[in-house]
Symmetry: C2
Subunit: 334 residues, 2 copies
């Protein structure tokens, strides 16, 4: 029996989407137990009989962001209860759609790290121009990153990628502001030298620049947390501004309105394609349990997909593989 | 008499665009002398008689990039000659469309810095959603940035902005991965505390995130060179991918082709609007002379506009104002 803990609150569209998704998913996956944290009243309003493999725990407080991020550890919340339960029990994975910063803080301070991993990393799947996806990490769990973190993340992200996407030897690159060897800050240069001489767990392709990241055939991009976050938010800003300007242009005359109508379907496909937040759940990698962060406005389908994604990661025995690999490195270094 | 030095080579479209623009501009601005560095053969082919206020210096070698960036100082090039001439003579400004990295390296190692400025910064004008522009610095002249650089750049960029865009008290913000006070790396946090308590040279608006940078009403955004470069290239990548996908969508059927035809004009306006490289010349700020970098594929119009931009900066006595302001700070600190 596998166990997934779900924080149903802290979603911008209320908690019932998570409950309904869990309800549907639990019936289809009787060999899993789902532990839901949320408000009993939300559950009652749905007027459903939970299957025996869902346990609902009443925890009615949402996370409130304050000026001190560590306050999330002091105030009661379903997120905090869900993480605490994950820590104390034999749980395989945790899913929440709550605030990323709060989830990173609580899990980092509560959950046990994988042996040999100094810091967890926030790792979304990013859609590429080709329609494929790549893993980008770290995008903000860390504001100051050391060289050794980049190397550690390269290894566990590779094992994760193999589990999720069945790729034998993924292509890995290091984010930088140039592809020449002399380019970039010290930690990128140091990590580059180490990765160049690394084993054949992945194919290391060297530095990659942000302007090529959506075009190149790369599976995993490693970055310090600050630059990774800047990258993600810069692309988000560029897309948003471009879509606003297109919308304004389309509304500018009768003719353009007709043209826009003819293109509506195609435009919607493109728009959805690049909303990376809708592409599955992001992972906070580095713990001895799987932690997934669904989009803050996740609907029932998004939660349902996230549960399937977690199932795949669990059944590929991803955490075991990471532990085994990290222990082997440890042995070789002794 | 004012003097502007122009490196006519190192442009992807050949040197004749720069020569033709200089020719036109020199006639209209008889109180300026233009010193052109380039290949005599290119000039001869144009078959024009240069006015008396253009001096052409034969320097036929282009910059070649090698694995060691400092090689640009050893190999002869029109860029190197142009910078050397600027250093040795009473020159007001230097214009080149050559490789940014080479231009930053040569000017940094050759030209005199303004008193009190530790490092030069690369500073393009970026188009916003509203159609206005903002100055972004540094976007890559520095890979490792100290807190004090951010403060110094805030001051000289403000004086530059006032000269170029006639704004009395520009709004300045600091790039970061969150707007909360506790967010971001140490240098951003330290700079934030100093800028909060700074004088009224600019209106300091606090942290700004890359996803809001094109929407907010900010005139100057200060960043470390690494994150600034990541931001610029991320936006470039997002625009490029989105335009490619739009193009593919427009070509997908007879109907969409018709629609695209109806929208052609509007789409072109949007596309040009966000090609920041076409929006005037970027400045390398921090020297006692003005250094401008035009786009690598500049045409005649782009060079002509760049010369007008330099004229405005020169006639606003921008360098003098920076020197005066920096000397005043120095006096107050004694």
């Amino acid at each position: 029996m596998k166990t997934i803990v779900v924080d149903t609150l802290n979603n911008e569209n209320g908690s019932q989407n998570a409950i309904k998704a869990a309800y549907k998913w639990a019936f289809e996956n009787p060999n899993y137990t789902l532990i839901l944290f949320g408000n009993n009243n939300d559950l009652k309003q749905l007027n459903i009989n939970l299957p025996h493999n869902i346990i609902f725990k009443h925890s009615p407080s949402v996370v409130t962001k304050t000026s001190n991020i560590r306050d999330v550890l002091k105030q009661p919340s379903s997120m905090l209860d869900a993480v605490e339960f994950t820590k104390q029990n034999d749980v395989d994975a945790l899913l929440s759609s709550g605030d990323s910063g709060s989830l990173v803080t609580i899990t980092t301070l509560k959950l046990k790290r994988l042996q040999g991993i100094s810091r967890p990393a926030f790792m979304p799947l990013i859609p590429k121009q080709s329609g494929k996806q790549f893993l980008l990490l770290d995008v903000g769990a860390n504001t100051e990153t050391k060289t050794e973190y980049l190397i550690q993340w390269s290894k566990i992200a590779t094992i994760f990628y193999k589990s999720l996407l069945n790729e034998q030897t993924p292509k890995l690159a290091l984010l930088n502001i140039g592809t020449e060897e002399y380019k970039g800050p010290t930690i990128q240069q140091e990590a580059h030298q180490i990765l160049k001489n690394s084993n054949n767990l992945f194919k290391y392709s060297g530095f990659i620049e942000p302007n090529n990241i959506l075009k190149d055939d790369i599976d995993i991009v490693i970055s310090d947390g600050y630059a990774g976050n800047i990258l993600l938010k810069s692309m988000e800003g560029a897309y948003s501004t471009l879509f606003t300007l297109l919308k304004n242009a389309f509304m500018s005359s009768f003719i353009t309105k007709i043209a826009a109508l003819l293109l509506k379907k195609q435009l919607k496909i493109i728009k959805n394609k690049f909303d990376y937040k809708k592409i599955g759940a992001a992972t906070i990698i580095g713990f001895d349990k799987i932690v997934a962060k669904a989009h803050g406005r996740s609907n029932e389908d998004a939660f349902y997909s996230a549960l399937n994604q977690l199932k795949q990661i669990i059944e590929a025995r991803t955490i075991n593989k990471m532990q085994k690999y990290l222990a082997e490195i440890e042995d070789n270094n002794e």
